[in-house]
């Protein structure tokens, strides 16, 4: 039991940090530009596939640098040639544009790499157990993922506190209406922020690809969870997104690890009742409801605290 708790905590924090790599970019983009970027998870997927392809061609370490840069470039192009032209039609049109993009990117990825998972492997240099707790070998690659995520987290924090763009982003988070008064370079700031956000999503994809499954539906699976994270944490709140990322990462990881059900706790129902909704609920394991949990949390937070954990805005 203790073993399960330790391992799941590690995995949960890891998943949470990955979620935060994505949700931080999504939050900043949403706060500054008012655009909920539906294609954010698609950039994550692009990162994984670029990483896979580049690893095949030039090796993992160059890919780790190059793939996020490529994804960032794609993101900047999307902002420059797509969103900027759509802006005049309003936020709904922008949201729809990113929705269409997410759809198209999924199709393009499955067209090029197929619909089944690709063989994106952990690099040999990191393919060893880092340590053994109880009887479980904890892979070094996961430690590496954790290290990268924490590194990026710290770098982001410094960038936010120390750089000019960082200050603008901070101001935008608290006073979204002031962004319009930034002056003539507002377009460049938007493009940069969108590019960095996409690159971070791409990086998350590159490092998550070998550990998880690199497949053309990975964006569609993760995208909705990202939205849950930023609604749960409170729209426009970076600390909120951080807490929500970790929380949802832990909840999902623990749920997957638990095999218990009401039936295993309280014993099976009387078989004479026959199949019904009750028996469905009675027999379902916690692991099976793991995919539903984030959305249950979403509904709960909407009823209890509609503005999210740390949200202040009524938008």
């Amino acid at each position: 039991m203790l073993e399960l708790i330790v391992i799941s905590t590690l995995n949960g924090v890891l998943f949470g940090m990955l979620l935060f790599l994505l949700s931080s970019g999504l939050t900043v983009i949403f706060s500054m530009m008012g655009v909920l970027n539906f294609a954010h998870a698609s950039f994550y997927m692009l990162g994984a596939f670029f990483g896979y392809q580049l690893t095949k061609w030039i090796g993992f370490w160059p890919a780790l640098v190059l793939a996020p840069l490529l994804v960032g470039a794609v993101g900047m192009a999307v902002e420059r040639y797509g969103l900027r032209n759509t802006h005049k039609h309003g936020h709904v049109a922008e949201l729809l544009l990113t929705f269409g993009l997410a759809f198209a990117i999924e199709e393009i990825v499955s067209m090029i790499w197929g619909k089944s998972p690709v063989d994106y492997r952990v690099p040999a240099a990191l393919d060893f157990p880092a340590f053994t707790i109880f009887s479980t070998n904890y892979p070094a690659y996961k430690i590496f993922m954790l290290a990268i995520s924490v590194l990026i987290f710290v770098a982001l924090l410094i960038a936010l506190k120390r750089t000019r763009v960082g200050l603008i982003v901070q101001a935008a988070l608290t006073h979204p209406h002031m962004v319009g008064h930034l002056g003539h370079n507002v377009g460049q700031v938007f493009m940069l922020v969108f590019g960095v956000g996409s690159a971070l999503a791409g990086l998350a994809g590159v490092i998550a690809g070998p550990a998880l499954v690199t497949q053309s539906d990975m964006a569609a699976l993760l995208g909705p969870i990202l939205f849950v994270v930023i609604v749960f944490g409170g729209l426009g709140s970076l600390p909120g997104a951080f807490i929500a990322s970790l929380f949802i990462g832990l909840v999902q990881t623990f749920a997957v690890a638990l095999n218990g059900s009401l039936a295993s706790t309280f014993g099976p129902l009387d078989p004479s009742i026959g199949p019904s909704v009750l028996t469905d609920i009675w027999n379902v394991t916690i692991a099976q409801i793991a995919p539903v949990l984030p959305y249950v949390l979403l509904v709960v937070i909407l009823i209890v605290r509609p503005m999210g954990l740390l949200g202040t805005r009524e938008t």
């Binding site: 949403f30 008012g34 909920l36 797509g82 032209n85 759509t86 039609h89 936020h91 709904v92 049109a93 949201l95 729809l96 544009l97 929705f99 269409g100 993009l101 759809f103 198209a104 199709e107 393009i108 067209m111 090029i112 790499w113 197929g114 569609a220 909705p224 939205f227 849950v228 930023i230 609604v231 729209l235 199949p275 019904s276 909704v277 028996t279 469905d280 609920i281 379902v284 099976q288 409801i289 995919p291 539903v292 984030p294 959305y295 249950v296 979403l298 509904v299 909407l302 009823i303 509609p306 938008t315």
Partner: protein, 434 residues
């Protein structure tokens, strides 16, 4: 005061003229629905018409949200699916217990299924509009979609729940076994639902929905609670989506988790937006087009969904009014007699635009088939011309068509814009354009 009275009677005269045209249109639509299968009587076209009919109701129900009330939902299929499951369960119960409910009433059961769920969950969902609503609708869509796989007794797991539409009490000797009878059942519900939804846009609630779409803040200061307005619109949308789902259950004799899923939600959004959300007939056009493309493209290409994505992105970026918006833009020009000024520029632009489209299609198909066969030779046929996917010439032609087509097309598009401005300014001078 006399002039007020005069203008009021003017309006009365005008609206009675509109009423005549209005009823005329519905009669024509009804006749068309009756006659259609007599002209195209093959089994394939009957199936297509049935699917299009269901898609029309579904898209119109979606437009109660998007076009009328300004609510962008990413989870509308929830109501379609729940309507479908409600219909299947009631059909099975009717067949098993011998209740005297004939099949033609089953779509209403689907509608009630959708309505009940919308009433239950809608109050929380419609608290906010805009992006937050969009995200929540997505979350609820995922929630219901994932739950449907857990609650196997209700949703039948992966395989779904099947039914037999002929097992219900027959009326007028109709068994609803043959597709033609199902078609007429669907056609009837298409007409009834479309009329009801059109009528809804012309009620006090319908107009206040438009006001909420345009300016929810101001609505609060003319006595209305925008939350209630959104909730009511949401419930109506759920009801009509449920009818569409019920019809789908009858048509396919099965309901499964795909009914509720994200793909279904995405398709209805595509259909409505491509057709044009600002006009009542827009979603009808969109439903016809998208269903037709879906049926037609699947046999031609393996990447048909990509074409949907591209068409959708193109519409969002360049014609946010959809096809209906593009068509209706020309109305003032026709009235002012200046349409002739823009036609030549359209014709000039047609060629490079077509070349660009061919280039894009050739690139996509080449890449798609190249990767599927792992780099072996494969033939793409475009406009009757065979292209070898491994030949450098093919890649070159595709690149030339895309790049060259785009450069030339962009110039001709600018010419369209200029011609359009001239024609529009004359129309404005003549008082046909505000």
């Amino acid at each position: 005061m006399t002039s007020t009275a005069a203008s009021a009677s003017d309006i009365a005269a005008k609206s009675s003229g509109q009423n005549l045209r209005f009823y005329g249109l519905w009669v024509i639509a009804a006749i068309a629905l009756v006659v259609l299968p007599l002209i195209f009587s093959s089994g394939g076209s009957l199936t297509s018409f049935s699917l299009i009919g269901i898609a029309i109701i579904f898209a119109l129900s979606y437009n109660i949200l998007l076009g009328e009330t300004g609510l962008l939902s990413f989870g509308h299929a929830v109501y379609y699916g729940l309507g479908g499951f409600a219909a299947v369960h009631v059909m099975n119960a009717v067949a098993a217990r011998g209740w005297p409910i004939p099949l033609p009433l089953i779509p209403l059961v689907g509608g009630i299924g959708g309505l009940v769920f919308a009433l239950l969950i809608g109050w929380v969902m419609t608290r906010r509009a805009g992006t937050v609503f969009a995200m929540i609708s997505l979350g609820i869509g995922e929630l219901v979609g994932s739950s449907s796989l857990i609650l196997r007794s209700v949703f039948g797991g992966e395989s779904g729940i099947s039914t037999d539409r002929t097992a219900l009490p027959h009326i007028f000797g109709w068994t609803f076994g043959p597709q033609i009878q199902v078609y007429y059942l669907i056609a009837f519900w298409v007409l009834v639902s479309a009329m009801a939804m059109y009528a809804l846009t012309r009620t006090p609630l319908g107009r206040i929905c438009n006001a909420v779409r345009d300016n929810p803040g101001r609505v609060e200061f003319i006595g209305y609670d925008p939350h209630v307005v959104r909730y009511l619109a949401y419930s109506f949308a759920g009801f009509f989506a449920g009818i569409a789902g019920g019809l789908a259950a009858i048509n396919f004799e099965i309901a499964n988790s795909a009914y509720l899923g994200a793909v279904q939600s995405g398709m209805v959004l595509f259909a409505t937006f491509i057709g044009g959300a600002s006009y009542f007939f827009g979603p009808i056009l969109g439903a016809i087009l998208v269903t037709y493309l879906q049926l037609g493209l699947t046999s031609l290409t393996s990447v048909w969904q990509l074409y949907f994505g591209i068409i959708f992105i193109g519409i969002v970026m360049f014609a946010p009014g959809g096809i209906a918006g593009l068509l209706m833009m020309h109305r003032p020009l026709i009235r002012a007699g200046t349409l002739g000024m823009v036609i030549p520029s359209y014709l000039v632009a047609a060629l490079p635009t077509l070349a660009l489209a061919c280039g894009v299609i050739l690139s996509i198909e080449t890449v798609a088939r190249y990767t599927v066969t792992g780099g072996e030779g494969n033939i793409v046929k475009l406009l009757g011309i065979p292209f070898n996917t491994t030949a450098p010439a093919t890649w070159g032609i595709a690149a030339v068509l895309v790049v060259g087509g785009f450069i030339v097309a962009r110039i001709t598009w600018r010419r369209i814009a200029e011609a359009w401005d001239r024609a529009a300014s004359i129309a404005r001078d003549r008082g046909y354009l505000a």
